[in-house]
Point group: C2
Chain length 385, copies 2
């Protein structure tokens, strides 16, 4: 049986992936009196008097809403909230398994920024944090920015920051392996959606010398007159030589390819045009920009994808469980220093067994998540000192 059918069968057998569990026993009248009426009234009153008590007396401190409009799901595009639910439930179980965080899928049946922001704000007060998920660019940027300004709980857009952090972690180790320096490395990012733009921003903050971003029409340059606000902003720090042309032209003399676009857009010839020791991160899901074997046979030295069934899985599962565990504890927003530090600790985590086939930890190296959470927490407290 192939993977697709196996996955369908697994979902059918369990009727989805998440359920609610009680943390306390409910076996007799005394239990009911304490967990529910009349005892619970006192708990409500305590919170009514001091809203901060909700962090100690309810599950909200450890609970994150995983919110999507279903508009940019995996490589599937705008499939809507309902069809995205298997991904959101998947996210929820990864949150739990790897970060111990309780995550609840919420889909919003609208593609309007205003409605999405308002809906999240209306339901946010009983969540410890908001994880935005699979919302299409450029809408996602405005939604994230507004929520960060208008809510006092952590807001994280996994497709942006989670992906950017894991790419940077992989890049740190890949450059180490090939002996190249970030300052004079040329990186082509293919895809200028949520992930592409967030990766470009983080690589800039990290200090990568030469970044080119492409979208489906080719290199993003000053010559283009079809750029939205966010793509225009890229020109402040990418493509400083103002080159233009196709993805294939961009690949000329490139050290690193980062694909967050669609399956199959990278071919043998494009890799041939890269500099010595090509690094190829083909992260489109579920079909990568180029299959790992094809990339290797074209001369790539290091290949990574987003998939769990190939080596070097650059999946944000390495990031969001620990990051949110840390943000929930610190009750703060993530900042650039945290993102770079988290990328560095993820990279450092594979120091001992670093190789072309192991530039990134496996999701099953469970100690990682606490290291990430502690990195976030420490930076949050040092800032407050």
């Amino acid at each position: 049986m192939d993977l697709k059918q196996k996955s369908i069968n697994l979902h059918k057998k369990h009727k989805g992936k998440i359920s609610i569990q009680s943390k306390i026993s409910l076996k007799n009248k005394d239990d009911l009196s304490l967990a529910y009426t009349p005892g619970v009234a006192e708990v409500c009153k305590v919170i009514e008097k001091n809203s901060q008590q909700a962090y100690d007396l309810t599950s909200m401190k450890n609970t994150v809403a995983v919110v999507t409009d279903g508009s940019a799901v995996l490589g599937l595009g705008n499939i809507g909230g309902l069809a995205s639910l298997p991904v959101m439930e998947g996210k929820a179980i990864l949150f739990k398994e790897f970060g111990g965080v309780d995550a609840i899928p919420i889909t919003i049946n609208s593609l309007e920024v205003e409605k999405i922001v308002e809906t999240i704000k209306l339901i946010a007060p009983t969540f410890g944090g908001i994880n935005l998920e699979d919302i299409a660019a450029p809408r996602c940027f405005e939604i994230e920015e507004r929520l960060r300004n208008e809510l006092d709980i952590p807001v994280f857009h996994d497709d942006q920051d989670g992906t950017a952090i894991v790419v940077l972690a992989g890049l740190i180790n890949a450059l180490k392996l090939v002996g190249k320096n970030k300052d004079n490395t040329k990186i082509v990012i293919n895809g200028s959606g949520a992930a592409g733009i967030a990766i470009a921003r983080l690589l800039r903050d990290y200090g990568v010398g030469n970044i080119i971003v492409c979208d489906s029409k080719g290199i993003i340059s000053k010559e283009r007159d079809d750029l939205n606000q966010y793509k225009k902003e890229l020109l402040n720090y990418t493509n400083l030589d103002n080159s233009s042309g196709t993805l294939e032209e961009a690949m000329d003399n490139t050290d690193v390819f980062v694909g967050v676009s669609v399956g199959g857009v990278l071919n043998f010839n494009m890799i041939k045009k890269m500099k010595k020791d090509p690094i190829v991160f083909a992260m489109a899901n579920p079909i990568p920009e180029i299959m790992p074997n094809d990339a290797l046979s074209a001369g790539a030295r290091i290949v990574a994808t987003g998939r769990s069934d190939f080596p070097n899985q650059l999946n944000n599962v390495l990031v969001f469980p620990g990051v949110f565990k840390g943000l929930l504890k610190a009750r703060c927003q993530i900042n650039n220093q945290m993102k770079i530090s988290v990328a560095q600790v993820i990279a450092d985590f594979v120091e001992k067994d670093l190789s072309e086939e192991k530039i990134i930890p496996s999701p099953f190296e469970y100690e990682l998540y606490d290291v990430v959470a502690e990195t976030i927490y420490k930076l949050s407290t040092s800032k407050n000192d």
Copy 2:
């Protein structure tokens, strides 16, 4: 230590009452490939093609949103969504423990009907049903009615229908014990919020002969010029003799008192004025309209409250877990026939050990919930025949 402090300690110890659990194993790369990327993409595609498949492939079929605006919580009034969260989490664990239903608390930070309805509609598509909770009257009536018309999943307002059903169940058994007949029974309902109006409607449908409803200003009668639309509608089938006056006057020659109001409003003298074998349902939470011992010493023959620490707990926990289990299976709205039948099966459930101190099953008689669910399901299918 008193109950209040014990309850606070319990909530603090566990940091709230609910958590998310994975239904499937996530222990290696193969598990990840099936539960998440790349396998999950196929599951999304199947649902995108046929939305009905979401009922088989996700957790939505068994998942209910417990939605409140925090405006009418227990006897505490409008304490807001955050302070209501301990009640919502309590509801969620009762749903799970007694009905096997996964319930997720959602609070909406608004008191406007339009915003509440819109928010619920925007997030509803990935839930199997909506349980409205602790929303103040008369707003709750409009919200419930609109959602039933505008959504294609079950919508149940527990404070209305849940309470009405459990009151009717208790009433059926109480009347049986005292040997009275519904047709010539006089019942005073004190409280004309969500519960009071729903109880009046259901008792009318059941065929109770003489119903008087009071609010804080006394008997609801044609003489009053301060009645909202829903209280006016009561006059079509209650207080047909058009009496007016105080609650105390209403209690004259009454067979049954049903209190869904506030603690302490019923006194010794009022019970003295009732007919032979007074039946007193003092359901205000957490403080009943009269404490059971006081009611008994005033001559009440049967006393019930909403609390788990007295005999005869008329709590809707007997209703909502089984009702929703049935509605989720049947994928239909509840109707009057279902409500009366459920009340009857709950009443029948105590046939063997029926007594003044046992007019209603205990929540721990676990077989009850399946009987209720099956009652709903059978009626739904017979309707479709």
